[in-house]
Amino acid sequence: MTLAIEARQLTLHIPDGRWSVARRYALGPIDLQIPEGAVVGLVGRNGAGKSTLMRCLLGLATPDEGEARLLGEPSLALTDAVRERLGYAAQTPDLFPRLNGREHLDEMAAVYANVDLPSAVTLAARLDLPLGKRADALSLGDQQKLAVVMALAHDPDLLLLDEPVASLDPISRRDFMRALFALRRKAAPRTVLVSSHLLSDLERVVSHVLFLRDGKVQLFIEWDEAMEYLRCVPARLPDPLSLHWSAAQGGRALVDSRHCPEAAGEPGLSMEDLLEVLNT
């Protein structure tokens, strides 16, 4: 099983004077192994470090310690071959202000080898994105749509998306989720790392989920496994055997029902419940 994304002891220090709370690291140390074909939902509160983690994984930010690898190559020295297979849409859509959507796609076609313009145009039509308007005349939601269409245009093997659907309406979000898989031309499944606050959307499509808190990985687990086996039991005191203990609601512990059979009767947890438990 090849690893699409790998991080070893990835750490980013906090620049001096930024935060006054006692937090030594902005990120890390993080150890991560994401297999090929996984669709990973990156979940955490604001400021947990999701965007920072993505930028470190992509090599757009230099970690202070540790290293990250994408598709087998170190992120800080990606070759063109890997860059061709890489797609990224950031939180702020970084577009060419004076070009319209069609010209953006032409630029992508000139730089990436694998761009299929007709399917990109079809995707834009599905998302209700006008391709004739200049980028700086588009609304923020449309700009995000364009950024996402550009990220998908060259059928990347590894796709990193940072809050791609934050400004989209619900129908566009559904269409976007469909397009993530429907627009795959190659046989091998695509690896996707998506960070989003819209957990109900993520629940439908993820195969793994990564919970991030204060720059550290709290939980990285297959989502099916999490849904089937993770349960919350009331617990007044922290239990060393539990995955996580939360003080809210009189004390709850997150346990794996395979290890604690008595928890099997508890109701299952949705992604939002899990996020809440892990962050309190």
Partner: protein, 135 residues
């Protein structure tokens, strides 16, 4: 072609994983007779597209059902219901299908604080009346 009934009802907010929902629904449809031997199931891509879910989840469900022997893969057609007898046979299989409902009943009984034997009585009554209504 697959009938509209064969398009599943996926609810991600339920406590069961999506693949398990698909598995259980197929099992129920086959057990209930709505899917007979040789009936085609919708393709992985079609289901994923319809419900905006991950195709891997659907193919995981189909593989599990294939391993159970409920479905088989046919060249050029996709997944079809295996040609085996009506699965009224294994009682334990059917009981396993009832398991989620039983669990839910048990949980609600506990929450409402109803004594267990009263709940069992109510269940027996419900089953009896159901029997009488059946032709």
């Amino acid at each position: 072609m697959s009938s509209p009934q064969a398009f599943f009802d996926i609810q991600p907010q339920l406590a069961t994983p999506i693949y398990r929902q698909v598995v259980e629904q197929v099992q129920r449809l086959v057990a209930g007779g709505q899917l007979g031997p040789g009936d085609e199931l919708p393709s992985v891509r079609a289901v994923a597209e319809r419900h905006a879910i991950n195709p891997m989840t659907v193919s995981k469900a189909y593989s599990l059902l294939e391993a159970e022997g409920l479905l088989e893969r046919r060249r050029g057609v996709g997944m079809v219901v295996a040609a085996r007898a009506q699965p009224a046979a294994a009682g334990s299989d059917l009981l396993a299908l009832l398991e989620p409902a039983i669990q839910a009943l048990a949980r609600q009984t506990r929450q409402l604080g109803i004594p267990p034997d009263q709940a069992v009585e109510a269940l027996a009554r419900a089953l009896q009346s159901d029997e009488q209504d059946r032709p």
